[in-house]
């Protein structure tokens, strides 16, 4: 425990917690003493993370608003009202935007952007009523800079950035701080997809990305989790509508 105030004893919901950044955030929050609900669309990985940190597995598809409402209700029944929300889930497809299947567009926006909106819709009223809440949405460096062959993904992430700012303005006066994180390339299972596409090993892919990072290495999930934990802490309440970018200096 690092002594971040305002995390111990609170109830947290982390989406996309089955692997990668979400799993690291769930682990960090548990180590800070939070009660953590671990969501993933894959019930197996959600259960695995929950078991490893003594949390509650709540598998559901964030792209389905009914499922989100039911899932958030299940967290409330099991652990109490959600006070710390981390919308970290994401799907990613890479393709030239003019050749993207309309169904890929819809699925990506449904999960990444609208999934975040459904989570806010389900969790914010209770936070406002209790006059306290901390929300972190995970966007992406590419959502700020754009990226060739990733327009679908970056548009969904750019939408999250804008949603974060609007929500922050709306509920900031009620004690609910909404912020975002825009991680640069991070060493997660998603990186294996890039490696496969590039015909490289995981290690070679990490090395190739790291060569472009001023810090000399790409982020680990724990690097991003540290940023999330800070934004979820009580003294971070003066940060509203801000986007923090753990990227090793690739975008300043």
């Amino acid at each position: 425990m690092s002594g971040l105030r305002g995390i111990a004893g609170r109830t947290a919901l982390v989406t996309g917690a089955g692997q990668g950044i979400g799993r690291a955030i769930a682990e960090r929050l548990a180590s800070e003493g939070a009660r953590v609900a671990c969501n993933d669309v894959d019930p197996v990985t959600a259960a695995r993370t929950a078991a490893s940190i003594g949390g509650l597995a709540v598998p559901f598809d964030v792209g389905d608003p009914e499922a989100v409402r039911a899932g958030v209700a299940a967290v409330e029944d099991g652990l109490g009202p959600v006070e710390l929300l981390v919308a970290n889930h994401a799907v990613m497809t890479m393709a030239p935007f003019e050749q993207t299947d309309p169904d890929d567009w819809r699925r990506t926006i449904d999960v990444n952007l609208l999934g975040t909106a459904w989570l806010l819709e389900a969790c914010v009223p209770g936070m406002v009523a209790r006059r306290y809440g901390r929300i972190v949405a995970v966007a992406s460096e590419w959502g700020l800079t754009g990226w060739p062959n990733a327009a679908v993904y970056t548009a969904s992430k750019g939408g999250i950035v804008s949603l974060v700012r609007s929500a922050a303005r709306a509920v900031g006066p009620d004690g609910v701080a909404v912020n975002g994180i825009a991680p640069g390339v991070t060493d997660t299972p998603q990186l294996d997809v890039d490696a496969r596409d590039a015909g490289l090993s995981h290690e070679a892919m990490v090395e190739r990305y790291a060569a472009d990072v001023p810090l000399g290495r790409i982020s680990l999930p724990a690097d991003v989790a540290a940023v999330a934990a800070f934004l979820l802490s009580e003294p971070a309440g003066a940060l509203v509508g801000q986007i923090l970018s753990p990227n090793g200096g690739t975008t300043t």
Binding site: S2, G172, A226, A238, L244, G248, G249
Partner: protein
């Protein structure tokens, strides 16, 4: 090493770092007596800053973290900012930041660790119609910090800017305490110095990959 450590944001940062177990050497025009060591120094005086950093090294050990909070705020329309006011503002804000960084960087670079957090301003992001010299000087700090961050990142030293919004310190002018202004902020309140200090502590001490970033606890004044 914390500059401006005798009051306001600097004092809050010193307290926060001490609470985290980091001994703090404070620089200020006033004695920063609450610190573990202090020197009365004008940060725009490079030789005095060098001497203070050397003194800190002798008494508390090599400087591993630096926070450059020394600064001042004043409102003047452009026509009212003469050459002397421009020079003083730039000497203290940009010059003071550069002097401290220049003094501590060689050891950080040699050690391959440590961190610097400069103090910029939310007004460098959105401008200040009442203080063009202040906003410009803070903007220069932002650009300097990003540049230093890129220079030092390959050596394992992380450099970032904390850009506070309107914070409840002795620097606040009556205009910034106007209830109508405060009501215009998303949070409907000023930022507390302890909230700035928590951000600085995070940037300096937490394990993360933030490099050359501007982090702005500003109560919603700028997004």
């Amino acid at each position: 090493m914390v500059t401006g450590a005798a009051s306001g944001i600097g004092a809050a940062c010193a307290l926060e770092l001490q609470a985290a177990g980091v001994p703090v050497f404070g620089l200020d025009l006033q004695p920063a007596s609450a610190c573990d060591g202090h020197a009365v120094v004008d940060v725009s005086d490079a030789a005095a800053v060098d001497a203070a950093v050397a003194q800190a090294g002798r008494t508390l050990g090599p400087v591993r973290y630096a926070v450059t909070a020394a600064g001042f705020y004043e409102q003047r329309p452009l026509a009212g900012v003469g050459a002397a006011a421009w020079r003083r503002m730039l000497d203290v804000q940009l010059g003071g930041t550069v002097n401290v960084c220049r003094a501590v960087v060689p050891a950080l670079r040699a050690d391959g660790r440590g961190a610097i957090c400069t103090i910029g301003s939310e007004l460098a992001l959105i401008g200040d119609g009442d203080a063009p010299h202040y906003a410009a000087a803070k903007g220069a700090i932002h650009a300097f910090t990003k540049s230093l961050a890129l220079e030092l990142a390959p050596h394992g030293v992380r450099v970032n800017v904390c850009a506070p919004g309107p914070t409840d310190t002795p620097l606040m002018t009556p205009e910034l305490r106007d209830p109508a202004y405060i009501e215009s902020l998303v949070l409907r309140r000023l930022v507390e110095p302890a909230e700035i200090a928590a951000t600085v502590r995070f940037l300096l001490l937490e394990p993360h990959t933030m490099v050359g970033q501007v982090v702005s606890p500003n109560a919603g004044a700028a997004m």
